[in-house]
């Protein structure tokens, strides 16, 4: 039993070494690269990408997409989770259907919605059959920016609400039934039970779901490329363009730093904003 003192460290060693080698070190490297030019430490790389006309739109579009997508997903996943808790028979199959998009990549989701929204897509046929249009329309034209935004928001809400749903359903299953029964005895209606029991007790799940989903929203990439091409600059798309198209690693590193900075900033906002007072004591 003497080796038991060292056993946990031995078991953790591979994971620790791996995370240092493939997580901490590379992120340090990319940070150093972003702040280094030929003259040494400088903000030159940020000035270089800042001179590109796509820089400001990329930041604006990414933040705007996140601000549109995440709240819709939060509301929808809460609604779906509440529905699921009220289902008796058939709950498992409904849950399976609701979580299907969890297995679908943003690339595939973009292609799926392209099949619906494209010029020869299904939506055009529906609109034509309803007599609303005379022939195929290009719904995803680069000139129609609001339509592009709408298409991306719909595709992302369709695909990535499931990840929040899973976390919220798991969180709700941990709330004791007795609380609801007691509240019902005292005459609390459905809405009141939701706001006074479900939401407060779901706080840590909500926090996790929001952090996970917001970080992923800043990483939005393939779905935008598929539906809008490069006409709608976003941060990940620009990072990819600087790395690959322009072959400018320093520029790509500077973009990476911007994504990293807003990701960490928003994580802290959610960690502090949704802090559990009871948790803070322990």
């Amino acid at each position: 039993m003497n080796d038991a003192r060292f056993l946990p460290y031995l078991l953790l060693l591979p994971a620790t070494v791996f995370l240092i080698a493939f997580f901490l070190v590379p992120f340090t490297q990319v940070a150093v690269e972003a702040f280094t030019t030929a003259e040494g430490f400088s903000l030159g790389n940020f000035q270089t990408i800042g001179r590109d006309w796509k820089f400001v739109p990329a930041i604006r579009n990414t933040l705007l997409l996140t601000a549109l997508i995440v709240p819709i997903q939060l509301a929808l996943s809460l609604f779906m989770a509440t529905l699921v808790t009220r289902i008796g028979r058939g709950r498992d199959i409904v849950l399976y259907v609701f979580t299907i998009p969890l297995g679908i990549s943003d690339l595939a989701a973009g292609l799926i919605w392209l099949a619906l929204l494209d010029q020869s897509g299904f939506l055009n046929t529906v609109l034509f059959n309803l007599g609303l249009i005379d022939g195929p329309q290009n719904l995803l034209s680069y000139q129609n920016v609001p339509a592009l935004f709408a298409a991306i928001v719909i595709a992302e809400v369709w695909r990535a609400t499931a990840i929040m749903l899973v976390i919220l359903v798991a969180g709700m299953s941990l709330i004791p039934r007795e609380y609801y029964e007691a509240a019902e005895v005292f005459g609390a209606g459905g809405w009141k039970r939701f706001t006074r029991i479900t939401l407060p007790l779901l706080r840590s799940s909500l926090q996790t779901a929001l952090i996970l989903r917001t970080i992923l929203a800043f990483e939005v990439f393939a779905v935008v490329i598929v539906l809008a091409g490069t006409n709608l600059p976003i941060l990940m798309g620009e990072t990819f363009a600087w790395q690959f198209g322009l072959q400018d690693r320093e520029g790509a590193a500077a973009y990476a730093m911007i994504i990293l900075a807003i990701s960490v900033a928003f994580t802290l906002v959610f960690l502090i904003g949704l802090r559990d007072k009871a948790e803070a004591r322990t």
């Binding site: 609604f79 028979r89 297995g103 392209l114 494209d118 899973v166 970080i215 990072t239 690693r249």
Partner: protein, 285 residues
């Protein structure tokens, strides 16, 4: 629904049952609408992938598949597709093996031992959440060229392991927490060594959950686009291939490709659906 209504106590006032029935109808209407919202687009993709290339680009569309496999065979015979598919499977399988092999021991250590530094390690794992991990591909691309891992299956699998590892650790942690330590202790008193007790008592109980967390790792890698597109050139995965050939590939190819991407993930999710909430959902809180 009527059966459930009839099973209710008869004492309920008629007005009450009416309200309850209305509530039930509303509930199921919402459920059906949301199921259609999820399944409809996938069905339409299926229609597109199972019609001839001419019908895919044609207009107006039909809403039933003609079960024409020429789009899929066109996709299959397209230059580079078969190789990309093989690469995708290899990278995902490697990711699964690496993240379980490295993550499960860590999960076990977190679940069974109290030791100094435990919180530091947990912080390290949780910290990965705040970071946009696919960006790791940028610095690693340089490193890989230096060590000869550039454009390789293993190099990409290592990045995907960084994405999957934190989840593997947290899932196996909650999995081992759910297996009573008393079972192991009983085995020790009966003369088992630590390793024997683990192999004969814990492992058989944990295997389904470990397999499920392996599936999550596989799907994570299978679906990843950004790092795959940055790190592979000749050895592209399917996602990288589809993304980088978006401008040149015709529509039927895209939709057939999307279907090939979606189907395995759906099957895997179906297999592990039992563990989705009990493990994945709770471990991620």
């Amino acid at each position: 629904m009527t059966a459930a209504g009839a099973a209710d106590p008869v004492v309920a006032a008629p007005a009450g049952t009416d309200a309850r029935r209305a509530g039930k109808t509303l509930l199921w209407t919402c459920v059906v609408v949301l199921c259609l919202w999820v399944l409809g687009p996938i069905y339409l993709l299926l229609v597109n992938a199972l019609t001839s290339p001419e019908a895919v680009t044609g207009w107006p569309k039909r809403f039933v598949p003609s079960f024409d496999l020429s789009s899929l065979s066109f996709f299959w015979n397209y230059q580079g597709v078969a190789r990309a598919l093989v690469n995708s499977i290899l990278v995902a399988a490697l990711t699964m093996i690496l993240s379980l092999g490295i993550g499960a021991p860590a999960g076990y250590a977190l679940a069974r031992f109290r030791f100094r530094g435990k919180n530091v390690f947990r912080l390290l794992v949780l910290m990965t959440r705040a970071f946009p991990l696919p960006l790791l591909a940028l610095p690693l691309a340089v490193f890989y060229i230096r060590v000869g891992l550039d454009d390789s299956v293993l190099g990409l699998a290592l990045v995907h392991t960084t994405l999957a590892l934190p989840f593997a650790i947290l899932i196996t942690f909650s999995l081992f927490m759910g297996i009573p330590v008393e079972l192991e202790e009983a085995a020790w008193t009966l003369g088992c060594t630590r390793l024997q007790a683990f192999r004969k008592i814990v492992l058989p109980l944990a295997i389904p959950g470990i397999a499920a967390s392996g599936v999550f790792a596989f799907v994570t890698s299978w679906n990843e686009v950004f790092a795959a597109s940055v790190l592979t050139i000749q050895n592209q995965t399917l996602t990288a291939f589809l993304l980088t050939s978006l401008d040149v590939s015709p529509l039927p190819l895209k939709f057939a490709g999307a279907l090939v991407l979606v189907v395995p993930a759906l099957i895997f999710l179906f297999v592990v659906r039992k563990y989705l909430f009990s493990l994945w959902g709770i471990a991620n809180r």
